[in-house]
Symmetry: C2
Subunit: 232 residues, 2 copies
Amino acid sequence: MSDLKNDIQRLEASTMTDMVESRLREYLKRKSFVPGDALPKEQELADALGVSRNVVREALSRLRMLGMIESRKKRGMVLTQPDILGSLERVLDPLILGKNTLRDIFELRLVLEMGLADLIYLRKTSEDIAALESIVAQEVNKQQKPFRVEHEIAFHGKLYQMTGNDTYMRFQKMLLPVFEYVLDYEIQVNGQAEVGKVTHHDLVEILRTGDAEDFRRGMKAHLKPHFDRLKA
Amino acid sequence: MSDLKNDIQRLEASTMTDMVESRLREYLKRKSFVPGDALPKEQELADALGVSRNVVREALSRLRMLGMIESRKKRGMVLTQPDILGSLERVLDPLILGKNTLRDIFELRLVLEMGLADLIYLRKTSEDIAALESIVAQEVNKQQKPFRVEHEIAFHGKLYQMTGNDTYMRFQKMLLPVFEYVLDYEIQVNGQAEVGKVTHHDLVEILRTGDAEDFRRGMKAHLKPHFDRLKA
């Protein structure tokens, strides 16, 4: 009898929570819940699902973390508009990501950078250009090396903002630490790469006088050292 | 005395779980946990944090959903390499996303599409081109309207795969349903848009004979109707 534990697989609480979470999602979808709609009470859900209230609470806690539900005074739990990047932010830690994922994210940042020209040309203002110019002026004044993390973040961060797309901006900013991490590692192994021939200053000049295609070509030249790493 | 519930804010279990989740993250980071390392037992964590075991279990359940920890026989809970897009997938439901987020995602798909040329040119093979050609041939044989969702998915999905970047591929595929949802809505309101002058067939031709810059220019012309929507 003492071997029973080895012979029959225990139904883990975590498995139950997975199932309850998935049932809840199905239910919300099938009943066409929209943000603002109130969910049934914990105890009702537990009774309907035939599980303990603790398991229901765990599953609801997951949806709460994803920003899909929240508790409101008097109304109980209601469906909300989720913060789509909130949970991504929680797992983008270079130390726990695998090598392939780190490389993927490094490339993804480059893809996003190469694709932003059209949105920028749709929405750029003269104030934006002035702001970029003052960022570039600070780089020169500080007499620092051409490649500095804080310059990169200030300059490219402003470009992200100019897309007028909050999701794009947040996503790119989230990818930066991973990008820097991979870059640092590469530099340790292969040595510092050349700097792209097109500088931040040149890119601002293109934004003034060129079109979206010129800007894309300039960005490609600016990022060339990173693309060269991918070939290696 | 009966007004006390109105005068003092109840410490919700959900708030406790938020705090415990955040403490656990801090702890894992400060102690430099890496994938494979075993976590302390639930009860030890509960004792150290001074909270009930249920709250600890809820917080751990969230980390489990994010793919950051998993249960292993005999070793208990261990840190794992999270699936960075798993939780994003859970919330990308057009029906519960806000209008701004839907627009952001529509644009993000275009940005990712415009940025993929460099990765494709780094990795494309003659087998890839042959596969694209057979997809295009099917489009023509079926004598269907030039814009069909299944053609779009087959053709662009193959392009995503050609980047050799799994994260990019999964991310783009996840965005597609939201993209289609916004497109359907726009078509209902503003009528069907023109089709881009550069077709899938033309894009394959460019992949054969042109360079990355030609391809980007072709893709821009292919996606022009979508970019025109953004101007409106």
